[in-house]
Symmetry: C2
Subunit: 212 residues, 2 copies
């Protein structure tokens, strides 16, 4: 009786709602990324986590890489939103520091997804089946996230709080620094990290040190 209930197949989605399972598959993959790395993901594991049979995946995705691409796309959208929300504040310098913290927190809270966003892409790009057009369009969404940093740096410069004369270049350098810190902090937690590395990165790369 309860056994029947326990092993009951999932309720099928109605006609128009075929897209629902698609979202559930992406969510399942995202959940699995909280436990293990992207390399450990398998199509069957995603299906299990989503509570469906393996072949059901094919109604929604051609293969595992497509699922992962969807996870990455969603993660980039989340990052952009989180950055926009996190850069609030009155002082432009304060806003930039808050932005950096939010970026680092995102990477820390979703290490595997972050790794996938910035570490697995080129892997997929070199994969034989990669769609060239898709690969070419991939940086666009990343640029959107970077733009938030560019704007914040520009505001500091406009307010006379940064000596930066090229907000894009400075923001890129800052992004590079934050990315490096995010990765290394997770990789080598035992390293004797000097306090305030994050602050130093922001101050120096965005050229906030006016008293020179």
């Amino acid at each position: 009786m309860t056994e029947t209930q326990a092993t009951a197949p999932r309720a099928r989605n109605a006609r128009g709602e075929g897209g629902r399972l698609r979202g559930e598959i992406v969510d399942a993959a995202t959940t699995l990324l909280q436990q293990g790395s992207a390399e450990q993901l398998t199509l069957r594991a995603v299906a299990r986590a989503a509570g469906i049979s393996a072949p059901s995946i094919y109604r929604h995705f051609p293969d595992l890489a497509a699922i992962i691409r969807a996870v990455v796309d969603q993660a980039f959208e989340e990052l952009v939103q989180v950055l926009r929300t996190g850069s609030r504040g009155t002082d432009p310098v304060e806003r930039l520091h808050a932005l950096a913290q939010v970026y680092l927190e995102f990477a820390q809270q979703h290490p595997q997804r972050y790794r996938l966003m910035f570490g697995g892409a080129w892997n997929a790009a070199e994969a034989p089946g990669a769609d060239p057009e898709e690969v070419a369009s991939r940086p666009r969404i990343g640029l959107e996230a970077l733009q938030v940093i560019v704007d914040a740096v520009q505001e500091c410069a406009d307010a006379g709080a940064s000596r930066s004369t090229d907000a894009f270049a400075s923001a890129t350098a800052l992004w590079v620094g934050l990315h490096g810190l995010a990765g290394l902090r997770q990789t080598t937690p035992l390293f004797p990290w000097p306090g305030g590395v994050d602050r130093q990165l922001v101050d120096r790369l965005a050229r906030l040190e006016l008293a020179g």
Copy 2:
């Protein structure tokens, strides 16, 4: 006739030279990392590349993770050597810039190995079978590489070419920046990288900009 030659088993090592195949296995794994990522490495693939049968691996390594650990150890030793060789020059600032270039080149020339050194370690650390003592000792070899950067920054400070008052902290920040750049350059080659990002990272993170 030639068929026999082609399929002839490899010449067995003499008694005392059992260690020779160990090195060949590590070399085979290193070679495979020039073609694919560490996640694609399998015990059988390493054996094939080394020209031996799969079970032969077990005479030298308990499992694939042990082989990878040996590859990483060797890579760190190479990096330290390359950094030491690359930091030659008369001017301390020149030496630091050369050091940064050498670091970036190492990462570029051995992308998968570099990724494994700084990106895969924590993965292995969280693996169930990880030896705690081994994990704890892992940063040591990395610190040796960092020390080369610390020394170079200190020399700049001593020569009055850097405003850094904490060479370790500045070197760490620089390492973070270089690591970020190394990773992102490979991951997002299509990104419109501003020229001179690498120089900017060194100048700003090692505080070489005196005319403030």
